[in-house]
Symmetry: C2
Subunit: 343 residues, 2 copies
DNA sequence: CTCACAGTTGCAAGCGCTTCCAAACGCGCG
DNA sequence: CGCGCGTTTGGAAGCGCTTGCAACTGTGAG
């Protein structure tokens, strides 16, 4: 395996000049640069990351911490991050901490601290103060996506505002019996967003003078199948049935639609359903939703990190509210006539 | 940020001894080991990966190349790989080469060759000879999952056998008008599996003396939404309709079921559908399928690599046929009576 | 023709570890 | 009590790059 020394010999240059020529830093005459380049190409030389990291302190590697890689939002972010990073010549080290708290602990402690990453992107992670301190202590740029991350730069959508708008959309259509499917309590430890979206929902209901019925507040694990099971409970119950469901994610909205179909409920004639995400599958179900461009959020996070690594003005605590797009499809409509508000 | 030197000072030992104590290699008295450990703990010292890699040649990092991170199979593999690797104290560098050929090229050339990874796992990548040579040239363990990878160790399921069994299942139920939804031709460049599964399907049909009608051979991009669109074409066509569909993946099977529902077709009364994968969503749709434990395949790949890194006997070209499990649910049944084979 | 200066280049000192080697040590045995 | 052996230890040489520094080159101005 060729080293920079071999390239230097072949090019008839010193190691130092070759290094500068290939890295693009420092002044090198066009002629030397060309020589170094061809020599490197001929030998198939690529600088060793570890050696150059060690010497320069720069790793060309960012760590991405996600709570799961299966759920739509996370895999979309991974995709956006990955593509942007690869373009910039950076490696992506993935830390999937789905297995719970200890795993996360060891990741934070043993892995991120090993100085292998130049920066870290944390997605939807609600960290303890101690964990945050630990992260900040390594003095590397951090950006959080989709969750609060005190002390770090964050990118997130207006969860509560969107939830409010979603509920309002249903209300304006004439619905008053609106159920909300939120994230599991178990998840709320990590992601505050279920709570935030729930808050937006409640606000809209309150503002409209509508009751938030506890029996219509259900939760699931953010997956289609989880939501499906719980929506069956909700819709199959002998109690009064809501005319609309606002699900905190598209996957849960889809699960709800599937459950509705099982009971012969037509969407939207018998039941309106609205989600949040912009899941690719939404189109198949005609799902009305708020499209949050998760890929784009990932890409933005990377761009921001790279800018900071390039010494951009300190945007350490820049908070971006990523825009969303309201996509009205066919899963929402006026409530069934025989069920207009009684009042 | 503390270095090994600080630990040595604090412990009253030499750098060399501390290194040995913490890495567990070489002889160190229990007393010194203990001292080194506590000193390291007190300082929060963690050895720098790049320095130790540079010195030792071992990286504690494996590269994972996947064609996508959205599709079920890949994200499941990522999960299995990630968990197993993290347990072993290894980092995972993710290369998502979904963006096509050039991206893949640059990944292979610039990234993997940078000697940052100790081993690589390539998922469903059909590589050119040159690319394979390149990979093998770095002299690192490689294992391929779900696709052929000449010269490397591979893990895969018996694609053609399973496909054959799936088709046979339909045939034994009495179906003769069987459609097959395979992977897009575009994908076949990368993954030979659509072709392999198709071959199994055709064999079963041939063996049963059944015709493989070209108009019932459709393909999609392996996603639910892609399959949905194409299944609508298939089922909505004015031509005769098949009584069963064998989809090369669960996601495509689900897309097919959704399309069937659109046309008022009941599954399985009017249409039987069978898939391959073991997708979590299969349960919601009562999908009959062959469960391939993708997570497990990822985990196995890692274990195999680690064994090789530990100097296990050369299993460089070990090929494992990963077992699958036939899961019969409610999406397959005898064909509708008014449509029994005409012959 | 000389001087100053900006643009190039090479030398060599690290970056923070691992590991070879030889020296120091402790022990049991003759 | 001394010797030899196996164990433990520290010194020091790298691993393959980057980069500060000083030396060098060529240019245009004086």
């Amino acid at each position: 395996m060729p080293g920079i020394k071999d390239v230097a010999e072949r090019a008839g240059l010193s190691i130092a000049t070759v290094s500068r020529a290939l890295s693009g830093k420092g002044n090198v005459s066009p002629r030397s640069r060309e020589r170094a380049r061809t020599a490197a190409a001929e030998l198939g030389f690529v600088a060793s990351y570890q050696a150059s990291s060690l010497a320069s302190g720069r790793n060309h590697n960012v760590g991405l911490v996600v709570p799961s890689v299966h759920r739509w939002f996370f895999s979309s972010v991974v995709e956006g991050v990955s593509a942007t990073l690869l373009d910039a010549g950076f490696d992506l080290t993935l830390y999937n901490v789905s297995e719970g708290r200890e795993r996360r602990h060891s990741v934070l402690n043993d892995f991120l601290l090993r100085k292998r990453v130049d920066a870290v992107i944390a997605v939807s992670l609600e960290l303890s103060e101690a964990e945050i301190d630990q992260l900040l202590a390594i003095h590397r740029p951090i950006v959080g996506i989709g969750g609060p991350l005190p002390g770090a730069s964050t990118i997130r959508i207006d969860d509560s505002g969107i939830a409010e708008a979603a509920a309002r959309h249903l209300i304006q259509l004439g619905h008053s019996k609106i159920a909300h499917m939120t994230g599991d309590a178990a998840y709320d430890q990590d992601f505050r967003l279920p709570g935030t979206r729930q808050a937006g929902f409640k606000k809209a209901m309150r503002d409209a003078g509508l009751a938030v019925r506890p029996e219509w507040q259900v939760s699931a694990d953010f997956t289609i199948q989880g939501a499906y099971a719980n929506a069956r409970q909700l819709l199959g119950s002998s109690l009064e049935r809501p005319t609309a469901v606002f699900a905190a994610s598209d996957e849960m909205a889809i699960g709800t639609i599937l459950a509705a179909r099982d009971f012969g409920l037509r969407v939207p004639q018998d039941l309106s359903v609205i989600g949040i995400d912009g899941h690719e599958l939404g189109e198949v179900f005609g799902l009305t939703t708020f499209d949050q461009d998760a890929r784009g959020q990932g890409a933005l996070a990377v761009r921001r990190l790279l800018a900071r690594l390039d010494g951009a003005a300190d945007t350490a605590s820049a908070h971006t509210e990523y825009p969303t797009r309201f996509v009205i499809r066919s899963s929402t409509a006026v409530p069934p006539v025989d069920q207009v508000p009684i009042r």
